[in-house]
Every structure is written in C-alpha cells, then in structure tokens.
Amino acid sequence: MFVIDKLNVLTKDTSKEILKDFSLTIKPGEIHAIMGPNGVGKSTLSKVIMHHPDYIITNGTITYNNKILNDLTTDEIARSGVYLLMQDPSIIDGVSNSEALRTALKERGSNDTNLYTFISKMKKEIDSLSLPKDTMHRGINKGLSGGERKKNEVLGLKLLEPSFIILDELDSGLDVDSLKIVAKNINDYLKVNKDTSVLIITHYSRVLDLIKPDFVHQMEDGKIIKTGDITLAKQIEKTGYNGVNEVESSENHE
C-alpha cells in the first residue's frame, strides 16, 4: 500500500509551497492517474516521492508498505521497490546501461547479476522494446532520441522489477507507434506482476487509453481537487481543465 498523507512541500531555493495537504492512497495492483495543467506540482510530486534534494517536506508522510519514505535516501526508496520513469531522463556519457543496471541489481542483492543471465535478459528486453542493438553498451541514453530514452527507462523498469511505478509524462517525446510499444511492455509487466501499482502523471488522456487507470485525479494548486474514473480524463480532454470545473460549478449551482 502506498499512502501520501497531508503532504506539504516547499522548494529549497525559493521556499515556494508546491504541495499543500496532498493526500493519496494507492492499493496494491491499482493504477492511478494524476492529470493537471502545467505548474500544479505533478512532476514535483514524483521527485518528492524519490526524495529529490531540491524539495523540503514540511509536513505529512509518504508511506510505502508501512515504511516511511520521508527519511530514506533516494537509492533506499528505489530499493524498496519504487521506480521513477523520468519525464526527461539524464544522458550520462561514460557509464553504460549494462554497467548501471547491473550495479543497481547488485545493490538490491539480486540473483540476476550473473553475467550470462543478466545479458540474456537485457538482450531480450532490448528486442522487445525495439531499441538499438548496442543499447546495452552505450552510455546511458547517449545518442538516443527522446522516444528511445523513454524506452530505455522502460528497459530499466523491466530489469529492476519494481512493485510501485511512477510514470512521469510517459507520452512526451514518444510517437504513436513507440507509445504503443512502451505501453505494451508496461502492460505485459503488470500482467505478470499483478500486485504492482502504478501512478501515471500526465497532461493528456491518450496514454490512459493504453494503460487503463482505475482512478483519475485532477490536480490543481498543489492538491487533488477531484477524483473519478476514466470518464474524468475524457471530460478534461474534451473541455479542458477550466471547462471541467465550470461544468461542475454550474451543476452545483443548479
């Protein structure tokens, strides 16, 4: 169970309040989507969960499987099973994909670090994601297009086998065909790992047509203001964020 309880967060440099009494509960196997316009704190939320040094939690808790994440370091949070698929993955020249992922597995105490087992599995997943053959030995995300960088993040996901996945703007930089490949890989993973939960952060509903959420939340000004199912996402897509609120307000008035 992943629980965020009344979380308040400031930016470290400007002390601007980004998240305000933010609460969210995600049960094992559930898929939640958070939608909202630019600047409401969606991507910040993903970084705060991973204990990014640019943010300070002033109040509230983030708990995963009864473990409080607030006081853990980023790598400890990741090793507890949380995987952040970044909106804009870094390019790191000199450190190869295989080197980084094998180190990550070793640090988890995984049995998959045997070189033959690891390489076989990595090759299989590279093929399944239609990534360039030499991805294994390339510097992390070096020479990859925006879409391929997202696929490379999914490659990491499939090798590290997390139990809680955060997809931050998965569809940005992906063309239609690549998005389908990425979504298929994530759905295949979720079919096998039924207790894995997903938090999708997105502007648009198109990714939700491919990875179907159980709940959709609308976020505004650092907190969730509305929760529904996929129809909320469709409504947002149709009328825009302001439109949804105007309809709601007019219904309440009547």
Partner: protein, 223 residues
C-alpha cells in the same frame, strides 16, 4: 602491446599499438597510419610529436607535462589526456597545424583532488594558408575535496578557411546525473564511483593500460 626503452627520439614507421613510459624530454615521430600510443608520463617532461600520418595518442599523468604536436601532410591527431592529481600542476597541450587539411582532436579530462590545483592550457594554432584544417578541443576537470582547477582553451586561428571548436567545464559532478543513478537504487557512493570511472575512461583502453588508470582512480574513489 610493447614496452620500448627510449632514447630521446623515437620514430614509428609501422602501424601498431605501443605503450611507453616517459620520464625525460622526448621527440616522437609518427610516420605510419594507425599508430596508437599509450603513454604514461612522469617527471614534468616535454614531449614533441611530429605527426605525418593518422595517429591516436593517450596519456596518463599525475604531473606537469608539455605536449607539442606538430601536424603535417593531411595528418589527423586524436589526443586523449587523463590526469589525476593532488598537486599544483599544469598540463600544456599545443597543436600546431603545419600543413593544409590537418586535423587535431584534443580531449583532456582531469581530476583535481585533496589540495590539487590542476590547470589545462590547451592551444590550437592554425597559421595563414593552412586551409581545410580542423582543430577541436574538449576539456573537463572535476574538482573533488578541496581540489581547484583552471582551463585555458585557446584557438589561435589565422586561416579563414578552417574549423575550430572548443568546450570546457570545471566543477563538481552534475547532481542531476547522481540523482538519476540513485533513482535506480544505486547508492550515492557507487553512483559517484561509476561517474568517476566513466569520466576518466574516455574510450575503451587496453587492460594493462586501464589498470594504471584504475590504480590512480582508486585513490579518489569513495569507499
């Protein structure tokens, strides 16, 4: 890979891969294509190269060094400098384009640690008339502990029909890269060591030569 005892001048007229440890001023002539030289330099020396063909030169050092590369006859030089130091030193690399259509790619990476004070002075010279010449420089120094550093990239270009580029960075490792690796479950210590090793191993190196670099890297890796 061969270990060769040097007098003060050495010429290479056949392609191949060679390892040299230099501790005195030396002149090296490259007269064949595809010569790869793996150097380890000591004792604050000066090395003069006369490059007549396509050559790749690697140099590991912890001390002062001056490299003068004279490039002739459409030759191309790829030069990789790997410096790890806790001393106050200067590495001076001069590439002189002495003929038309010559190319120099100078890639210099350094680590300045403890009380280190590392300076790269990287200079490319294209004289008037050396048309079609290309002079590229990329220099980076990572400061660890109380280490300091300075990069002086200079391009002295008198020929209009030529290409020259440079980039330079000094400072700590990018926090974004560290955070990225940590989100994969890699501890900060291991992430730091991965970045350090990747930063210094610019290209695939022969095992024996890589071991020399590893011995130096072990002094700065986090344990």
């Amino acid at each position: 890979m061969n270990n060769i005892l040097l007098d003060s001048t050495k010429s290479y007229d056949k392609e191949g891969t060679f390892k040299l440890e230099l501790d005195k001023d030396t002149t090296i002539n490259i007269e064949s294509d595809n010569v790869k030289l793996y150097l380890v330099t000591k004792n604050n020396i000066r090395v003069d190269f006369n490059i007549f063909k396509k050559a790749t030169i690697y140099n590991i050092t912890t001390e002062n060094i001056t490299i003068n590369a004279n490039i002739y006859n459409n030759a191309k030089l790829d030069f990789y400098l790997m410096t790890i130091t806790d001393k106050k030193i200067t590495n001076t690399i001069n590439a002189y384009h002495e003929s038309k259509d010559t190319t120099s790619n100078l890639i210099c990476h350094g680590i300045s640690y403890l009380k280190g004070d590392l300076k790269f002075s990287v200079n490319g010279y294209i004289k008037k008339g050396m048309i079609g010449s290309i002079c590229n420089q990329s220099s980076r120094i990572i400061n660890l502990d109380d280490g300091k550093s300075l990069i002086e990239p200079n391009l002295f270009i008198d020929e209009f029909d030529s290409v020259a580029n440079h980039s330079a960075y000094t400072g700590p490792f990018d926090e974004k890269s560290l955070f990225y690796l940590e989100t994969k479950g890699i501890s900060r210590k291991e992430a730091f060591n991965l970045l350090l090793s990747g930063f210094m191993k610019l290209v695939d190196l022969p095992k024996e030569y890589e071991n020399i670099l590893d011995m130096l890297l072990n002094k700065v890796m986090r344990s």
